[in-house]
């Protein structure tokens, strides 16, 4: 389980949002980036002091977008693991627990990587989901994972730093493994793991734009995610 401690994000060694931001840019690019546009920087300072604002004007907005979705997924699986449906089949709890642990790792990664540039994720509200039944839990998990895959696939092109694209690539294939696994749990031994509903005639998975993904996940957040820069 993730420890929500300050040491988790080691941001205290830097003097503030903009210096951390420059540090991250320098480190990631491997060269010194001398100036960060102050307007963009300002957006993230606002984000940092608590507004759930996703500014897609630069890579940090994309990473915060991923952070918000991973936070939702992590909370979803933590809720399942805490009180699993009684009608799970043998071995299914362990799979859901594994997937949940992966999502916690993803959330933890983005939290640490973004540091003080991260948004405050709105309170998550999963009360619309019936966690007592296997079928509703698996159906919702499938939606989250398919959406996550399509979201990363659609967001990759927005990233400007190769290091961030590679990180997104490391995560999206694990989300795809989750999606395929859940689909096979729902309809075992079928073609659904990569069904024609998600893979098109050219053999490609879906790609969704941030607005499409955010409109799907917004109902699970208690306050509105403010979106800019799209």
């Amino acid at each position: 389980m993730e420890k929500q401690t300050q040491s988790d994000d080691w941001a205290g060694t830097l003097s503030g949002p903009s210096s951390r931001r420059q540090f991250l840019q320098r480190t990631a690019a491997g060269v010194a980036i001398v100036a960060i546009p102050s307007a963009l920087s300002g957006c993230h300072v606002l984000g940092a002091i608590g507004k759930p604002k996703l500014d897609f004007g630069d890579d940090f907005g994309v990473l915060n977008y991923a952070y918000a979705v991973e936070s939702l997924e992590a909370k979803f699986y933590q809720t399942i693991v805490k009180s699993p449906p009684r009608d799970l089949k043998p071995g299914e709890f362990e799979i859901l627990r594994d997937i949940g642990a992966h999502e916690v790792q993803h959330r933890r990664f983005f939290k640490r990587a973004l540091g003080v540039l991260r948004i405050k994720v709105p309170e998550i509200d999963l009360s619309s989901i019936d966690f007592t039944r296997r079928d509703t839990v698996l159906a919702q998990a499938k939606i989250f994972e398919d959406t996550g895959v399509a979201g990363y696939n659609g967001a990759g092109k927005r990233l400007k730093l190769a290091e961030f694209l590679t990180i997104a690539g490391k995560i999206v294939s694990v989300e795809a493994r989750h999606a395929a696994t859940l689909r096979d749990m729902i309809n075992p031994g079928s073609r659904d793991f990569a069904g024609d509903d998600v893979v098109d005639a050219t053999g490609r998975d879906r790609a969704l734009e941030p607005l499409e993904v955010l409109s799907m996940v917004q109902p699970f957040f208690k306050s509105r995610l403010v979106i800019a820069g799209l």
Binding site: L24, T27, A28, I95, D98, A101, H102, E103, V104, Q105, H106, R108, F109, R112, A113, V149, Y152, N153, G154, G156, K157, L159, A162, E163, F164, L165, T166, I167, G169, K170, I171, V172, S173, V174, E175, A176, R177, H178, A179, A180, T181, D184, G189, S190, R191, F193, A194, G195, V199, A201, T202, G203, R204, D205, R206, A207
Partner: protein
């Protein structure tokens, strides 16, 4: 890292290039892997008596996608596409007597080779994403293929009674010669952050890229002719 081509420059088509050279090189690298996978599944699914009906349908779904990937990449590459090499699915470099000699007569061996190809494919595409950043359309298409390869890998692993995700750098119940497919997957250093500890979940949560050189070393035994 730019992919090494399987082919000499003299063998590449010399027509006017619609795609920048470096993008075409990455796509031809991907096309080589897709050729390898497509013919593998075409042969396996088409071999009477090899696969039980339920498993055969799942491999047929994978086959359909790999054939589609070949067609898609060839279409994108146009005159820049490379032609299909000859393969040796026994892993015998053309001698047809490699470690997977019964690949098309034993379903267990067939599934093992399938897992090797799919886990390799996912890591290979991941390693090339950054080389496609200059063309957003091509990058997104490659990412869309990448996640399908990962779905395939997951399902083949489930067919083989393995966890869908890779723990540390374990090849599980695959033979030792497949270890290079999993080497490096235990990495816990992401971007600029070390994330040690947390049991298996840390390594499972992040699939790691392979360079084109690593991938070509992995697939070399399956190439019957090396140009």
């Amino acid at each position: 890292m730019k992919p090494r081509s399987l082919f000499d420059a003299s063998e590449r088509r010399i027509e006017a290039r619609a795609l920048p050279y470096d993008i075409a090189d990455v796509l031809n690298f991907a096309l080589t892997l897709e050729y390898l996978e497509a013919e593998f599944y075409e042969t396996g699914v088409g071999t009477q008596g090899l696969l039980p009906a339920d498993v055969r349908a799942q491999f047929d779904q994978i086959r359909k996608h790999e054939v589609a990937h070949v067609a898609f990449l060839r279409q994108v590459l146009g005159s820049q596409q490379i032609s299909k090499p000859a393969f040796d699915y026994t892993g015998g470099m053309g001698k047809k007597n490699g470690p997977f000699a019964d690949v098309f007569s034993n379903p267990v061996t067939f599934a093992a080779v399938a897992q090797a190809f799919e886990d390799t494919g996912a890591r290979a595409y991941k390693g090339q994403a950054a080389n496609l950043m200059s063309n957003k359309t091509v990058l997104q298409a490659a990412l869309q293929i990448h996640s399908v390869e990962a779905r395939h890998a997951s399902q083949v692993r489930r067919i083989r009674q393995q966890k869908s995700w890779i723990t540390e750098d374990s090849r599980g119940n695959l033979p030792g010669i497949t270890q290079p497919i999993y080497n490096g997957d235990a990495n816990k250093f992401h971007f600029i952050l070390a994330q040690p500890g947390h049991g298996n979940s840390m390594s499972e949560a992040f699939d790691e890229p392979l360079t084109s050189g690593q991938v070509l070393n992995i697939v070399a035994p399956f190439l019957a002719t090396r140009a």
